[in-house]
Symmetry: C2
Subunit: 166 residues, 2 copies
C-alpha cells in the first residue's frame, strides 16, 4: 500500500467481492426495512398486504382491459401459481373480477369499481409513506441514488435473464 488503503489497483474497475457484499447487504437492509414498514401500515390502515397492493396496482395501470394471469405474473415477476392465490383472495374481497374471453383457458382480471376506489386510497397513502421514509435525503441524493440503482439493475440484467416458470 502506498499511503493508507490496501490498494484499489484497477481504478475504475469493477468492485471486488467485499465491496460488492457490503453494497448488497446495505441494499437489502434498506429494502427490507421499507417493506416491513409499508406492510405494517397497509395491514393496520387497510387490512391488506403488499402483494395484493402490487396486483391491484398492475390492474389499475391496465385499465378496463385488465390482465390475464400470465400477464400479471410476468409484470409482478412472480409465479403463475402465486397470482392464482392472490386473485382468489382479491376476488373474495370484492376488489377484482374476472371476465372470460374467446380462449377458454384464460380469464382477464380487472378491478371492480370498489377495487378501483380502494386502490386509489391506498396508492395515495402509500406515496405519502414512502415520501416520509426518504424525507431526510436531499433531492440531489435521491436523484443520484435512483440513477445508481438503475445502473445496478442494468448490471444485474447483463449477467442473467432467467424465467421463473421454467
Amino acid at each position: 500500500m502506498s499511503a493508507a488503503a490496501p490498494l484499489p489497483d484497477r481504478l475504475g474497475g469493477a468492485p471486488d467481492g467485499k465491496r460488492s457484499l457490503r453494497l448488497w447487504l446495505r441494499m437489502l437492509t434498506c429494502s427490507t426495512a421499507i417493506e416491513q414498514r409499508v406492510s405494517q401500515r397497509l395491514r393496520d390502515e387497510f387490512g391488506s398486504t403488499l402483494p395484493r397492493f402490487d396486483l391491484l396496482s398492475a390492474l389499475d395501470r391496465a385499465g378496463e382491459a385488465g390482465l390475464t394471469m400470465g400477464e400479471a405474473s410476468r409484470k409482478l415477476m412472480v409465479s403463475n401459481g402465486n397470482v392464482t392465490g392472490l386473485a382468489v383472495r382479491l376476488r373474495a374481497d370484492g376488489l377484482i373480477e374476472a371476465m372470460d374471453g374467446p380462449d377458454r383457458r384464460v380469464q382477464r382480471l380487472r378491478l371492480t369499481s370498489l377495487g378501483r376506489s380502494r386502490f386509489a386510497l391506498m396508492a395515495e397513502a402509500h406515496e405519502h409513506w414512502i415520501e416520509a421514509l426518504f424525507a431526510d435525503l436531499s433531492e440531489a441524493e435521491a436523484e443520484d441514488l435512483t440513477h445508481l440503482l438503475e445502473r445496478a439493475k442494468h448490471s444485474l440484467h447483463a449477467v442473467t435473464s432467467e424465467d421463473l416458470n421454467r
Copy 2:
C-alpha cells in the same frame, strides 16, 4: 438545473412523492432480482435457502458461544417463531446444535463442525455471485451507491424504530 426542469423549487430539499416512489420501486426491483438469483443458486448448488444461509451466517459470526433464539431473531430482524422453524430445519440438516445453559427457557444455538465447513463453502460462493452481479458497475459507482444507501438507511431510522414482536 435552472433552465429546463419543472422547478425543484426547494433546492436541497427532500424529494417529493413521485421521486421517492420511483426511487423505492427501483430499489425494490434491484433487491428482488438479486434475491431471486441468489436463492436459485443456493438451492441448485447447495440445496439450501437464503433464510437458512442468513442464520448460519449469524451463527458463524457468533463463534463457539453461539446465539440464543432471541439474539438470532433480533440480528436477523425476524420474529421469534420464524427462528424456531429455521432452527428445526437446520438441526435436521445437522448444521447446527443446541446447548442449554442455566436458564432453562433459553437454548444457545451454534454451528456444528459440519455446519461451519458447509457455511464456509456457501459464503465463498455467495461472495462470488454478488461480485458477478455488480460487475458492470465501476468501483466508484459501487462506493457512491453504498454511501447513498447508508444515507437512505439513516433517513428510514429517523422516521421510525418499531419492534417486530410487539
